[in-house]
Symmetry: C2
DNA sequence: CCATTATATATGTATATGCATGTATTTTCG
DNA sequence: CGAAAATACATGCATATACATATATAATGG
């Protein structure tokens, strides 16, 4: 057992690195659908919310509003989502899935599900739950800094 | 205790989300130095290797060679690194830190160290070690898929 | 030694992402 | 009510990232 000094390895850079590795796996396997995991994830979230505004989606995904605007525009160009004005508030745009978007989501879902199950099983459910909880803790810790 | 079905939450999207949150903290605190964590991390790696080629750095950081080329060019424009031809191999470019790069790294290091210690302590050393190991496991799992 | 193959880097193109800022609309408050 | 503040979205600019591909150089095999 080597005694690693974890503090010498950048928490952020390490997380980003693993993030890239995981992203490439998802993207590669989703490739037949033409979706990237970022796009799949956004479609899945819209589907889950049924209809959601740009800024609200940003809050959920912790993405800047401007990022949502652009990413959603890509999905719109592909015909996967519709943008409509909120009748109650002319500033707000409401995002919904189109029929084509729902179909694309359904097409990609089984592939996504397979990767999920495979990777979680390989990590081991127990370990993955701990991992998941620590990720959640990290987010909370950082958000608590912001409130200072 | 609510029984969450972890398989319904995208491993990749979740990891990317936390990655963003952590990155924003590091970037915010590093801002006085003008470095982003990606840049700091790259400088620190070059420093650690003393001198390294573009593709070798890509292997270490698991970044595409083209990404290294571009990111290094930014660091070069800022005068933090030098690129020289490898006398043994005219294809290869050798990256080294300039004096200015070393100074910048030294300027940023204490800030980086503070974030590191703070965040790892807040997570808790024990938990963080488990977390770190699981991240490593995930990388290995995914790399094992690629060999198939 | 030369042709083929492999390797190292660069470039074109595209998505993802954030910050600063601009514009339009709504809300608040004197 | 009307001006100021807040909110929602869009745009300009910049970095990070990957894939496909081009270019230059080295290595290899006949």
């Amino acid at each position: 057992m080597k005694n690693i000094d974890y503090t010498h390895i950048c928490v952020c850079a390490n997380l980003r690195k693993k993030s890239r590795v995981v992203t490439q796996l998802y993207d590669k396997l989703l490739q037949p659908t033409g979706l990237k995991i970022t796009q799949y994830s956004m479609l899945a979230n819209i589907d889950h919310q049924q209809s959601v505004s740009i800024s609200r989606l940003g809050e959920i995904l912790l993405l800047d509003q401007t990022t949502i605007t652009r990413n959603i525009n890509l999905l719109k160009q592909n015909g996967y989502v519709d943008l409509t004005r909120d009748p109650q508030d002319a500033r707000t745009k409401v995002i919904t899935l189109t029929k084509k978007g729902i179909e694309k989501l359904n097409e990609a879902a089984p592939i996504w599900q397979d990767i999920q199950e495979r990777i979680i099983n390989d990590i081991g459910i127990e370990k993955y739950e701990d991992f998941y909880e620590t990720l959640k803790t990290i987010q909370k810790i950082i958000q608590s800094y912001d409130e200072e």
